[in-house]
Point group: D2
Chain length 422, copies 4
């Protein structure tokens, strides 16, 4: 073993998910010991099950202690919180052994001798466990989707005949509320109609569904800033804007415009300074909206190809922008009075007022104002769960159960696991 | 600091590049100390330069000791070899300070306060240093390209008017030999004509170049198994096959067909067993060629979309296949008598007889049979440099200088750094 | 690089000191780059100085932000707190460059080519920096010593003619208050007279000192539970007990006996259960005192040697006891109303009511009740600074400046650095 | 998780034992999962047993492959060698489960909830496994002991009535050959009689033993440079020197004095230069012997205490000396023709010609010249097994089975585990 000196610094949280990395470490042991031996696959299977069963117990213990702390002010600390301090909250027990069996049949994890259980293996297992838990609880009332990379490719939209359409319609037919909680922040509903056109058209064409079922489809734009609901008349269909009074929480109404503007001003100034400091092309633009400010790449004309080519901002520059703005606002007094969310959209950077946790909780109240839908009755499907400073779905974890997918194709797969047994 | 227990296992070499990771660790220190302070950028710049200057000296010391060991049998061990045992061989000194300055102007590395110098920053700096070294030596005689992801998108080809065309033609006009060393192993030259059509068509249309310049374009297919050279007549153009005697090294001729077949048989059997063991779709195919055997995904008909969709094999299964075959062949006697190369092509797995190191060295001899082109006169541009067991460009590092790119767009960028000063 | 899976668990804080480990990581870079080269020593020296100068600035920035947070409620976060979250509080600036030069002259750190700056090198540098800071501030008013391993060998005492005697007497003569803050918890002052006999005897014999100077010597027993002061008459000398009203803080007086007893009962029960669970020899004893409970090894008669031999409790069992008791009390309501301190004394385990931070702050008030001695005027010298769960000097860091020594010989060395320039 | 940049450098091998660290990592998983739960102890016990059983199998597989490689030239690579490349050779199977049960009864490893299995726990388990293996094989013929810290405290000797005496006499009575393989390199046998006096005196007083049994006691001084055997007459007893021809291997005889002197000259020069470079007290001495050269601390007169005090050389300086000399000799041609061993004796540094692996193998031949005692029949007990560059027992691992102890008390414990069942 070579001598190792670690320069640790906590300027930014490591992009890795602590809980998944921890499970990877646990599974590496039986893998290392048995995977290459003759009885390997069988014994590895048993030991993986045993480890997942132990983790199930640790999650259940954590939920019990969460409840005792909230209800009885107990000082107890769940063992899982000691083992993985960043693990966050669980809203349902997780049948991890059962989920592992499902994924092992698909991915033959135990049959591998050289590649130990990977990040993706475990991400899929956790997704399956969450689906199984919701099926067992029969409590699912609200499913929310991120837009880009979850419902459609980055910058794309739902086409007519897209596979996601039938799945969402099935959800609606089963009486499940469906919300699209997206960073895309248009205050014009038609923009969302464009991006969800395949779905809206199918809804409008489906004469078997009641209007009541159809109007369970909503869009929460700008993470938590604009609420639209599906509507249709005999000739028309699309999304209609919902009056603020019907959905904006009082706490949010209390946010002063000064604080909002001051916060967005700081973010905007930062984007300007950093654009210069990081020598980014002048064609990049700062877009200021009422409840958001963004730094977007813009286009450059390629003389050879005689086409406009999208500017590619280095990943490091995007991440620097998010972290600098995040840090600045964390110690900026006006920003403490409101909520904001900075994130790296993969090719641009945005600072939004509010956040997806707020967006999901608004929908929980909007659909059942008297007795809001609970976190255990809510499932958010998204692709941006890398920790602080670069992923906006991460916050949704505090508002409901989540599924971490990595492409629209995976969104179809998880829905096809859920729907037949819903 | 939490207690940390490491389960280290060496079943597979970590995908990270030890030399780049080491440099990342060195640069993290000045970043951590100055990056956030007022005089940060300036002092960080000086200290990064000082670190790169030290690494330059360590590289130069290593080259001197490499020479003394080879020429005088010295037992000395270069300090860089002690510091980074996996660092491999350097064929030229590396003007790293100058390269850092080039890349810092582009990527504003020193202006970042929250994101320390990244893997990509350093990869670009090493590329620039290698280009600068070759420009200074004025010794460049051979440039070889990987195909997929380097010259064109994965599975794509060079279109007419593609930006890469003018660059390669400029190389040829400057008398530089150009070889495409690709894993794609067709024994039919027309297949390569198809994939390089944009380039061939431009060559044929360019009446200013001599045939001698044009025929400096070759293709080394199947990594080191098929050699084709550009040809044209008044009406025709494309690639012609070169007679084995003109280029197959005697050492390779000495490989017995039995050993080759036995080796490919083992690989093929492995693919079959693993396809079953890893529960991969039956539509996946094993393709056996004279000098290679591959496991390719195949297609599945999607009833909903009514189209054939390419099967997606999980990354872990591909990596398992490569490592299992690699390990089996490493202790399989017949395979010791020949060279083989297993690699994960991103969506398929291949075991080729030979390898890119052999492919590049064959071209070095083919172009200058009397006094073969040396490693210091050769530049290989590819995208697959993750260490053993999954990347076929890694081997090319032992045959010549290399540039590690990650997309066809980056290939254009490095050529545009090289050509103006060649 | 081998693949590495880390099983991280935070049941116990790693025994390593995060700040020292962090500095080790920073210094490893110039060491790795220059140490072996010809100009190595000189350039390494410059770069170590540059790193220590940067750390100096980070410490100063942290002190300024500490003050702005306390005085102005600023939300700023010092960069050092981001880089090393566990770093704790600084009461004085630290002249680290000057301190490094002092230690480099002694330990020739820059002349080493194979062994990079070690934990001990940096511990000595930090000690020297703290001494230099106090000499510059001319503000030192109180020096407190741990007992075992600091003033005398473990279980030993100050003999007549011991080198520590002259040093402490010099401190007293300079008007510096001296307190021995020890875990040893006797309520009989004569026990401390026995363990500090060499010092008391020398004081009594020294007719040049005033009684006022001599009585600046105090003992804080049981970490913060018993206060004694040196006294002498023409015939007698030793320590006298100080009446509670003169020194016990009101906050401590407010601790109910029930909470104290309940807390010690839990600790005692734990010791009993664990002694059985960990299969420790029955001869081990649980000692219950008014303000402490301990688990001590006891003796076993060795038939062969015909002597009583002290039982050696494995380090792991001692550490388990401390961590289990610590964890239990952290969520035990009565214990939240008071202060307790569990620590591993090297061969036994104790749970004391109070702690060294309280002990030091009591002395700060006792000596200058009207305007208590501040943290920046206080220096605690001890050997137990490994973080939570096993070291009782660690807490003293919150009450004053500290020097981390590892033997009585090192205590002499640091005093000999301090006294000549006091 | 915080971002981590590792500055790895391989100037010196990490002091940690890779095999023990690896086992620690494996055991951390069941500990982390069960140790805190109600059924914890029981399930942890089962899973530790399962892990040790898997490691047993990996060791057995390695031994089989070791034999096939040696006897059949097989290219197979044992899985354990892939998992822990530094693991070295095993001469016997290791009943690790049984050994774990023995140590768990003593150290209650499974009952711990907060402290996972430690380095010492595993060191003891490996020792017990090696003892059990030798008892099962009934093949033990030779036991060799290191001197300092193993037979007696550092710098001490065996006193009359010492507990080690009866144990060694029991070994001799059972016909086991006993050799003391020590770095102490005197060519005068009486020096060893002094340090082993308690043992020699007891042998001489024991009229029940035959001279043949008694003379199975030998001393291998200077690691492998001087051989002495116990002798006694009616009045006299002690050690007699054995003529070179009876024991010096021909390979060692072939070492030229020039190479030996040249090698020791380089080491001596290094010591001189480093003593100056590392600013070590002038009273330190370089001691040159025929087959060794050492750097020893010497003494300084303490005016206050009026006694000579042994100079304490910082650990870092000792380690630097060992590594610099080691590295110099590794590329110094004359040193390649002989064997040398540099090590840090805790307070001094020595470079010996030969080494403990040679010393043990000389005894294996000396006792049974016709059919030398094999490695599987040999047990070396020592305290210096930290890898290369600082520990001389490490080399003995290549000559026979080993027990790693940390004090003379532990030597008694392992012998008391062995003798009753021998």
């Amino acid at each position: 073993m070579s001598s190792r000196y670690r320069v640790e610094y906590n300027l930014k949280v490591h992009k890795k998910d602590a809980f998944i990395e921890w499970i990877k470490g646990l599974l590496a042991v039986p893998f290392v010991l048995q995977a290459g031996t003759d009885s390997g696959a069988e014994r590895t299977y048993k030991q993986y099950c045993s480890i997942f069963s132990d983790i199930e117990n640790l999650v259940s213990q954590k939920i019990e202690i969460q409840n005792r702390r909230r209800q009885l002010g107990s000082l107890e600390e769940a063992r899982l919180d000691q083992l993985v301090p960043q693990v966050g909250t669980f809203f349902t027990h997780l049948p991890l052994v059962e989920a592992f069996e499902v994924q092992n049949r698909r991915r033959a994890i135990c049959s591998r001798k050289m590649v130990s259980p990977s990040f993706n293996d475990i991400r899929h297992i956790l997704n399956s466990a969450q689906i199984l838990a919701l099926l067992k609880s029969k409590e699912l009332k609200l499913v929310t989707f991120d837009g880009d990379v979850t419902l459609y490719e980055d910058g794309g939209s739902i086409e007519r005949g897209g596979k996601i359409v039938t799945r969402i319609i099935t959800l609606l037919k089963r009486g499940i509320n469906v919300g699209v909680v997206t960073a895309a922040g248009y205050d014009d509903p038609d923009k969302y109609k464009e991006r969800l056109y395949g779905l809206c058209f199918a809804l409008f064409s489906d004469k078997s569904m009641s209007l009541e079922q159809k109007s369970k489809l909503t869009v929460m734009g700008g993470e938590s800033n604009y609420l639209f609901q599906y509507f249709e008349t005999s000739e028309q269909f699309g999304f209609k804007s919902i009056d603020d009074d019907e959905w904006v929480p009082s706490s949010v109404k209390a946010w002063s415009d000064d604080d909002i503007d001051a916060t967005l001003d700081v973010a905007q100034t930062c984007f300007g300074e950093l654009s210069h400091l990081l020598a980014l092309p002048s064609k990049c633009q700062i877009i200021r909206k009422k409840r958001a400010v963004g730094f977007v790449p813009g286009f450059i004309f390629d003389d050879e190809l005689e086409v406009n080519v999208k500017i590619k901002i280095p990943r490091e520059a995007l991440e620097e922008m998010v972290l600098v703005v995040q840090k600045k606002l964390e110690s900026y007094p006006p920003a403490q009075n409101i909520q904001f969310s900075c994130f790296d959209g993969g090719s641009d950077v945005w600072c939004d007022i509010g956040g997806k946790d707020l967006g999901v909780s608004i929908l929980q109240n909007f659909y059942q104002t008297d007795s809001p839908i609970t976190a255990a009755q809510t499932l958010h499907i998204g692709d941006q769960f890398a920790p602080k400073g670069s992923a906006n779905d991460f916050k949704a974890r505090s508002a409901g159960c989540t599924l971490w997918i990595s492409s629209p194709r995976e969104t179809i797969e998880v829905l096809d696991d859920l729907l037949p047994y819903l």
